[in-house]
Symmetry: C2
Subunit: 508 residues, 2 copies
């Protein structure tokens, strides 16, 4: 692989573009660090200054991007017909950014960044005190800004299309609606079958088992070392909402959170964010400092995080590999045997928190957010009614009562950061992960078998590298799926996987 | 105070300048964060990318600074004669930067930043493995770059003057030589008197007492809470070389380090860095986002850190206030009474590590670095000979044998960051701190008396705020001393203080 890819970018015009781009990359790098720090270590009172800096830098970045010489270079190069796939992709990505910057006034971007940076700090406070009214005026402004953004960007049918497209090139509201229609009924029905099954009862007590937070953090570090090797280019910290970020070559970071009980939460988020990080880490070395380093399709990215969270983290075989360290970190688990911990990690139970949801009901959490976002952007509902609407939907789709906004409408960081149109990629990405699983297993053998040794884990990482990671953002979601799977994206693999796994587990 | 200072900057021309400056401030803010992260949390392999980003941003900053419109604004405003002190100072600081940027080519700055950013990572490795040869080629390049810098900047007598001036406006090699000549003999003599005194023997065992690092970190956080109040705008982390940084409004950060024994080391550095941070924190609110927020004179800055480290941290009265928490954090201290711990904190003992040196021999550590830097820049010695020269000077001035480069020439971070010309301000700043002490005590009473209550600590903080901090960088070192003390800088206060304190302590 390395040889074929060595010196990927050769065309002098593209190299010239990349030289100019490196300044923009540097701004992205430091802004990325600024955002990471905002969530992890920044003193509380630092948010105003950070917001100010991030917004100024965002508009400076736009200014540099729109410098005449750079724009001309991009436009000239887009006419070249001797570019390889990597070079073409660089132009594709830059044209996409260029369109964004040409359509959005810099004052708007500055306002957007500043508002969302402050809003994130307010959201954290609002969440901690379970007080939606604190966050409400900020969210209201963010929704207005997103509507404005949609108008600036333009769209064919729904203004929500314009927002979706920023997170996933070309994705439309109609497609998302069609996708959910194809999985919703089957998943609801599967959930009901599981809930009615004989063996469903009785394995819930593990959720209440407490752990020591410092010990568990050390366990997570050990876990990462085990699956990844030396952590000289990857670190794990704590934030109220787990996320991953890649600041460039040799610097990938993930976060997790600790509740002090219900181990599955922090374990799941660590495996999940690791999946994201691995994509960035295994992106080809020659793509560093370019706009196609790492993944830009959120669906593909999420397919990687969900792959590690679900197919590795939630498998009985992987659990066997880490069982010794796990019960050492959480001694109360000693009273359960491995199969009980396995069932606990795979418990299907309609619940409140998306990031801790099981593999089946997870998609209903996303569906709720999708419907709310769409209605907000299409002006059909008001921000002030969100807690009510949220709670009603959770009751109706998942059958659960939401006891507080902290566990309800305030649970996710996304809206505070202005990320409206992002959530659907979570469900679509999960569906894609099942498709990768199918093709990986066809090529190198079943994952449970592979998980019997460290060598098997490395084979999995290599397959992902060769088929997905190494390309960075060279191909769009649709192109990459077609290239690596030989067929178009299809949610049937998700349904088959769930039917098979949970059918066996609960003897349906 | 607040009223007099409210709306400090009113002149429309200066306000216009500050608007443009805010983008440069934003770059400084994120670069500051990038440097902080480099020392604290960045994964090891991230140094190349970080170095690249910091160097690109440094030259971008220069480019923005040199934009014709901005330069004209500054030059036009420098002719105005209706500016108040704050507005004048903004122009003074910007003209200083302008001179720097006009004289140094941007490619040079980029090279300097990139080299030093990488060198810092290499220095850390070299120090950890006590391997000077790892660091040698980087230091050699840094010395060459600094010589070049001196040539670009220009100087009257020694090229070292040009470097000194960047850290302390107008400071010259001759002045530094004269200063050291005025204190060296007296300090050496005082040290010898102490070493010969009856009571000098026997109180050294505390240095070997071990502590638990996590517990001690919690103690340091408690200590900061005690002297400062809520830590919503100040945090403490760990780095191999303690430092402080202020990223702007509401975001001050200090670091410390832990050896696992010899409590005085981490305690001293925490108090020291706190003194720096307090200066930034108590700078007037209206100065945020301007080039005169916080202290720019390194001598004044160091006078603040040394004030807290020595007059507060090393006083018997303050020790009484924290004694309970201290012995709880370090239970082995229970076997010593307060006066023994006090003597341990004030032990005069020629030693290896500057940051842990006593108040008297500290200045000899600085003198050694000053002499080496001067000779390096004047081309009288070679980088490759540094370990030998270092060790010889330590033997000759302090009478100690240096067992390894880690505890010798590799101990300080400064040179790896390109900071040659910085060290002398440490000694001069310490001398200035004694001058502040003298004048503070004349006005609000003796520090030992004030330290008998929390209220007294607040009075000290208020005096420092009113006389020093609040002005930020409005006045130069010399102007501020004259304004607040009514006389010129004089090292006699340092000598008087040391003679008095150590005379009493060791019954000389």
């Amino acid at each position: 692989m390395t040889e074929m890819h060595s010196n990927l970018i050769k065309h002098p015009s593209i190299r010239k573009i990349l030289e100019h781009y490196r300044v923009i990359w540097s701004l992205n790098h430091l802004s990325g660090l600024g955002n990471w720090d905002l969530e992890t270590y920044m003193p509380e009172e630092g948010s105003e200054a950070r917001g100010e800096a991030l917004s100024k830098i965002a508009s400076l970045s736009q200014k540099l991007f729109l410098e005449k010489e750079f724009v001309e270079l991009i436009k000239e190069s887009s006419k070249l017909n001797d570019l390889n796939d990597y070079e073409k992709a660089i132009i594709r990505m830059l044209l996409r950014d260029l369109e964004f910057y040409e359509k959005l006034p810099s004052a708007f971007i500055e306002d957007f960044v500043k508002t969302t940076s402050e809003a994130t700090t307010v959201w954290r406070k609002a969440k901690n005190s379970s007080n939606f009214s604190l966050f409400e005026p900020y969210l209201k402004k963010i929704v207005e800004l997103c509507k404005k953004k949609a108008e600036y960007l333009g769209y064919k049918e729904s203004p929500y299309d314009a927002l979706l497209d920023r997170y996933e090139e070309g994705l439309t509201t109609k497609e998302v609606e069609k996708y959910f229609a194809s999985i919703k009924t089957i998943l609801v029905e599967l959930t009901n079958r599981i809930k009615k099954s004989e063996s469903y009862r009785g394995s819930h007590s593990l959720e209440e088992e407490k752990y020591d937070i410092e010990t568990m953090h050390k366990f997570n570090q050990k876990l990462l070392k085990f699956i990844h090797g030396e952590l000289t280019h990857l670190r794990i910290d704590v934030s109220s909402h787990p996320f991953s970020t890649s600041l460039g070559k040799g610097d990938a970071r993930i976060t997790t959170r600790y509740k002090g009980k219900d181990f599955a939460g922090t374990y799941g988020s660590t495996m999940h964010e690791y999946g994201h990080s691995l994509y960035e880490i295994q992106s080809h070395n020659d793509l560093h400092y370019t706009p196609i380093a790492g993944g830009s399709s959120l669906i593909v990215h999420e397919s990687q995080s969900r792959f590690w969270e679900n197919f590795i983290g939630r498998s009985e075989e992987f659990l066997k590999l880490i069982y010794g360290d796990l019960v050492e970190a959480q001694p109360s688990f000693k009273k359960y045997d491995l199969s009980e911990i396995y069932k606990y990690l795979n418990l299907v139970k309609p619940s409140l928190i998306r990031t801790e949801a099981d593999e089946i009901t997870y998609h209903l959490h996303i569906l709720i957010r999708f419907e709310i976002e769409k209605d907000l952007i299409e002006g059909k509902i008001d921000v002030k009614d969100l807690p009510k609407i949220w709670n009603e939907k959770y009751k109706s789709y998942l059958g659960v009562d939401v006891p507080s906004d902290r566990e309800g409408v305030l649970q996710d960081i996304h809206w505070s950061g202005g990320s409206i149109g992002y959530f659907p990629t979570y469900s679509l990405g999960t569906a894609l992960s099942a498709m990768w699983k199918h093709h990986l297993e066809k090529e190198i053998g079943d994952i449970p078998q592979l998980l019997k040794s460290m060598d098997g884990i490395n084979k999995i990482k290599d397959w992902l590298k060769k088929n997905i990671h190494e390309y960075g953002s060279t191909y769009t979601f649709r192109e990459l799926v077609l290239k690596s799977c030989g067929e178009e994206f299809n949610p049937k693999y998700l349904l088959e996987y769930l039917e098979d796994k949970y059918g066996k587990m609960w003897n349906l």
